[in-house]
């Protein structure tokens, strides 16, 4: 027998009430002194026995009455072979939850798991009886209420189930289960059943298992519906994914080498032998073999000649050949296409011969090769010079900058630009702008001779293709530098000298982030006042690397997953209308919004993987969106974990359609039993009343006799 409201059984504790009253009354028995017990003893044995039997019988009937009422309130249902004999089955409210997250696209047994789940869900309709109502919820990372109000129109519900499509979203059953709880709370009286058709992926259950009380809240506890979790199968689909792709080349230059590392995870129980194919734009760039043991994660480096790509961004795809879950076989990425940097060179003084100015050597280095466009202004002209379209601002010993200039530079940094500072004699600690990643303290003279330079991060884009173990950074003929107090956000990329500082030298190249922008400090004067760095062979390549590095868009390596929102990138102008294109080709427009910033949402939710592009004016941004790799691990949650999380609900875990069919058969013929209990309670009530009345009447008969007193005995005659 099952109970639809088992919590009512706690009311059985109320049976203690008549027992307690009975025992209390017995304790209240009064002691009465009496003249003689002679006559009482003569009749005691007869009356006491019957009195005790009557009292116990009345107590039993009263307890039984309580128990029957409480049991009826718990709404018991039981299987009955002939349901009609007992008035038919309990009307049901059935809620079907179908998981259509990305993992349900895994193929097992010749069909996707979603197709199998839908087939199982539709088989429930065959079991429905007249009066049963159905609601349908599609579960991904949120609950889609396809049929929110339980309906007796099964065609509507069937169509809703059949129309469920596979998504690329991650799975989270908590929202759907909460909605199911709300529906059961509003459902009409009767049996409530919640079916969850899912691959029962562990990652999908994680939020529920972490906080089950937040999911199985009050409506679940009050209505206690039956929860049936149906897995389509217990097979282990073959699956591997490209978990991550790391680009080593900061930008794409047609014809030059393009490098990166793909991280491949084998989530199958079989070894993986596959190829990682890299595509740039529409051209196949190359492929690399990958071999991974079951459960292993391997890194696959690649290096290809980059094809020519038009535009400011190139779209790339890394792809595996294919397995049972295609959704995670492709990894989308974007890489900026190289375009010549545009640099504004602001120098502190423009007096004296040109070759003695701080900007002289910088301009020469930047203009070498003709790939970089340079304009030179004074530091004071920063107040009024616009920096739009520039990729970097080089400050050559600018001295104290005005507040207006500092504000302009900060806006420039917020738009993704790069500021590179070369200090000099005019650099004062008190004049240092707040956006610098370090504070200058005092100048320091170095020992004579060349100072060794050590690269802290050889993988940094500044040093890529320039210096490595084979081509070390040359020692520099520096005589002086500034000591800097680093902020927590500062990163030291180069150190100069030995035996000083945490890295064994003084910071020579310091990088900081300011929003999407970058700030670089080169701890040397741009002229020869602090040493012959401008004449060293490292000067030109370092300056040009800084310029090229500034031309790359920071923050483009952000990893977006399906379901994430898209925010406005910093490089797009705010004063122009914006066009957003989805992977499906759908285009949306957005008017210009000068108040927009990097927190402005362009799209609430990316529903599909692929490339989303946003363009405003001449600027374009690409958003590669991938399927959340949490969906790649198809491992099911342990059954005992689900039992524990759903306790004390009645949970049934089934696998396959056959198991579901059998379970549906067994649960047929549920008959409401509480009417019979109520009838029995009524009969007990009447019996108790009759018995109590009989007892009372018997007791009232004791007053019928009056013993006459005062009559003098007639004497016999003497």
């Amino acid at each position: 027998m099952n109970f639809l409201a088992p919590w009512m059984l706690y009311g059985l504790a109320a049976i203690a009430a008549p027992i307690a009253i009975h025992l209390w009354r017995r304790r209240q028995i009064q002691a009465i002194p009496f003249g003689s017990l002679r006559f009482l003893k003569a009749i005691a044995s007869r009356t006491r026995r019957s009195s005790r039997v009557e009292n116990l019988l009345l107590l039993f009937l009263r307890c039984l009455l309580f128990a029957l009422i409480v049991a009826a309130a718990a709404r018991p249902v039981m299987l009955a072979r002939s349901a009609q004999l007992f008035g038919g089955e309990v009307p049901r409210t059935v809620i079907l939850i179908i998981d259509h997250s990305a993992s349900m696209g895994a193929r097992a047994g010749g069909q996707t798991r979603l197709e199998a789940a839908k087939a199982c869900a539709l088989s429930v309709f065959d079991d429905l009886k007249q009066g049963d109502r159905v609601a349908v919820i599609a579960a991904s990372d949120r609950a889609g209420l396809l049929v929110a109000e339980p309906t007796i129109d099964r065609d509507v519900a069937r169509k809703a189930v059949a129309g469920i499509r596979l998504t690329e979203t991650r799975g989270d059953f908590a929202p759907a289960l909460r909605e199911a709880g709300k529906i059961t709370a509003k459902a009409e009286r009767g049996l409530r059943q919640v079916f969850l058709f899912t691959d029962s992926q562990e990652t999908g259950w994680r939020p529920t298992l972490a906080h089950p009380e937040a999911v199985f809240d009050l409506p679940w506890k009050q209505e206690t519906p039956q929860l049936v979790v149906v897995r389509p199968d217990d097979l282990s689909p073959r699956n591997a994914c490209i978990k991550e792709l790391r680009l080593l080349s900061p930008f794409l230059v047609g014809g030059s080498t393009f490098r990166g590392v793909a991280t491949v995870e084998n989530l199958s129980s079989a070894p993986l032998h596959d190829l990682v194919q890299i595509t740039i734009g529409n051209e196949r760039a190359g492929q690399r073999p990958v071999d991974a043991a079951p459960g292993a994660t391997v890194e696959v480096p690649f290096e290809f000649e980059a094809p020519g790509v038009e535009g400011s961004w190139a779209r790339g795809t890394a792809r595996l050949s294919g397995d049972d879950l295609p959704a995670d076989d492709a990894y989308y990425f974007s890489i900026p296409v190289y375009r010549p940097p545009r640099v504004t060179l602001a120098e502190g003084t423009q007096l004296g011969p040109e070759r003695l100015r701080p900007s002289f050597f910088l301009r020469k280095a930047l203009e070498a090769g003709g790939a970089i466009r340079v304009r030179t202004i004074s530091a004071a002209a920063l107040d009024d010079t616009g920096l739009e379209g520039q990729s970097a601002v080089f400050l050559a010993d600018p001295g104290r900058l005005s507040d207006r200039a500092i504000a302009r530079l900060e806006r420039f940094l917020e738009s993704g630009g790069t500021v590179a500072l070369f200090p000099g004699d005019q650099t004062r600690p008190a004049d240092a702008p707040a956006f610098l990643p370090a504070r200058p303290t005092a100048p320091r003279d170095l020992p004579p001779g060349r100072q060794p330079v050590r690269i802290a991060d050889s993988a940094h884009p500044l040093f890529a293709d320039a210096w490595d173990n084979g081509t070390p950074f040359p020692a520099l003929p520096q005589k002086r530098l500034l000591d800097w107090k680093l902020t927590p956000q500062a990163a030291v990329l180069l150190t100069l000298g030995a035996g000083e500082g945490a890295e064994g030298g003084a910071p020579f190249l310091i990088q900081g982030e300011r929003g999407p922008g970058r700030v670089l400090i080169v701890n040397a004067s741009a002229d020869r006042t602090w040493g012959d760095f401008p004449l060293s062979p490292a000067f030109l390549p370092l300056v040009q690397q800084i310029a090229r590095y500034s031309a790359t868009q920071p923050g483009r390596a952000t990893r977006l997953s399906v379901g994430d929102p898209l925010t406005l990138p910093p490089n797009l102008p705010r004063n122009k209308p914006l066009a957003l294109t989805l992977p499906s080709g759908e285009a949306r427009t957005r008017p210009a919004d000068a108040a927009a910033d990097s927190r402005t949402v362009l799209l609430e939710r990316a529903d599909a993987s692929g490339f989303y592009s946003a363009s405003a004016g001449e600027e374009t941004a690409i958003f590669p969106v991938n399927v959340d790799r949490a969906e790649s691990d198809l491992k099911a949650a342990p059954p005992e974990a689900l039992e524990k999380a759903t306790a004390p609900l009645a949970l049934t875990q089934l696998t396959g359609r056959d198991a579901l069919t059998q379970w549906l058969q067994k649960s047929k013929g549920l008959v409401p039993f509480w009417p019979f209990l109520l009838g029995a309670a009524l009969a007990v009530f009447i019996l108790e009343a009759v018995l109590a009345n009989l007892v009372a009447r018997r007791r009232a008969q004791g007053e019928a006799i009056t013993i006459a007193t005062g009559r003098l005995t007639r004497r016999r005659t003497v």
């Binding site: 009064q30 009496f34 003249g35 002679r38 006559f39 009356t47 004791g702 009056t706 005995t713 004497r715």
Partner: protein, 299 residues
């Protein structure tokens, strides 16, 4: 010293002035009183003749008979003498039972005894007192006079009903000791061995005493008015019995009625005046009704 006012009100005593207590059988007395005596002697009522023998009082010669028969005969008279009233009160523990505002059976018996004693004293008869339980606790010989009456009242007031009853044993002993015939007023609840009681009463009757048997019961003992299950405690033995009075009432009253009827029948056989009294009834009313009825029945 107890006074009669402790037992009787002035109004009650005034009402008792008109009452008399007489024995219906011949009694022996040593003073000249109003009661018939089996002893033949100087009296105003002629009873019989006998031949004169030397030494007889010549005043009792019946000269009329001499005139007719010229023989000397002495008149014999029915000698009228005082009544000895022996009040015997059961002073056992059960007599201390009382319910509500009623007098206890013992106190009720004391007031009856006081009333009878007042009447007896007024009649210049003698009153004796015995209080017993399983043995005689108090015994005052029958005498007249107010001082003696006060003594009796004092002994009545001093006694506390307690102990177990053995009426038969006590009464048999009394019967042996009571030589002069008189009026025995026995007051008890008779909640004892009935066979022993009536054997003792028969003993008194055998000695030609006039016996009045007054059974005293409390209204609670008559009606068992209790409603809830209670534990009844015997006042003499301490025995306890838990019973539902509302269920036991009918059967109890039938048992009691059967017992009372038995007592009444046995008393009728022995020519004993039996009276069942409830302590709910005013003892003054009882005295009045009883003596009036007794007088009516003796006419």
């Amino acid at each position: 010293m107890q006074s009669i006012s402790d037992f009787l009100t002035p109004e009650g005593m005034r009402k008792l002035e008109a009452l008399t207590l007489r024995s219906r059988t011949l009694v022996e007395g040593f003073r000249a009183g109003s009661h018939a005596s089996p002893l033949k002697g100087a009296s105003i009522e002629f009873a019989d003749h006998r031949q004169y023998v030397k030494g007889d009082n010549l005043r009792n010669l019946d000269w009329k008979v001499f005139g007719r028969t010229e023989r000397y005969f002495i008149k014999q008279f029915e000698e009228e003498t005082n009544l000895r009233v022996y009040v015997m009160i059961d002073g056992s523990g059960s007599m201390g039972f009382r319910s509500g505002e009623h007098l206890s059976k013992y106190d009720y018996a004391c007031r009856i005894a006081a009333s009878l004693g007042y009447i007896v004293g007024k009649q210049q008869d003698s009153l004796g007192l015995t209080i017993y339980d399983d043995k005689v606790r108090e015994e005052i010989p029958a005498r007249g006079g107010m001082r003696h009456f006060r003594l009796i009242l004092e002994r009545l007031a001093a006694h506390r009903p307690e102990g177990r009853t053995d009426t038969g044993k006590a009464l048999h002993a009394l019967a042996e000791r009571t030589f002069r015939r008189g009026l025995i007023v026995l007051m008890s609840d008779l909640l004892d061995d009935p066979e022993a009681i009536f054997k003792a009463v028969a003993h008194f009757r055998k000695k030609l005493h006039d016996v009045i048997l007054i059974q005293l019961l409390d209204p609670a003992e008559l009606t068992l008015p209790f409603e809830r299950v209670a534990q009844f405690v015997d006042m003499e033995t301490g025995e306890k019995l838990e019973i539902d009075p509302s269920l036991a009432r009918l059967a109890y009253q039938k048992e009691l009625q059967e017992f009372i009827d038995g007592c009444r029948e046995k008393c009728a056989v022995m020519n004993v005046d039996y009276r069942l009294v409830s302590t709910a009834e005013s003892f003054e009313d009882f005295i009045h009704h009883y003596l009036a009825e007794r007088r009516r029945m003796s006419l």
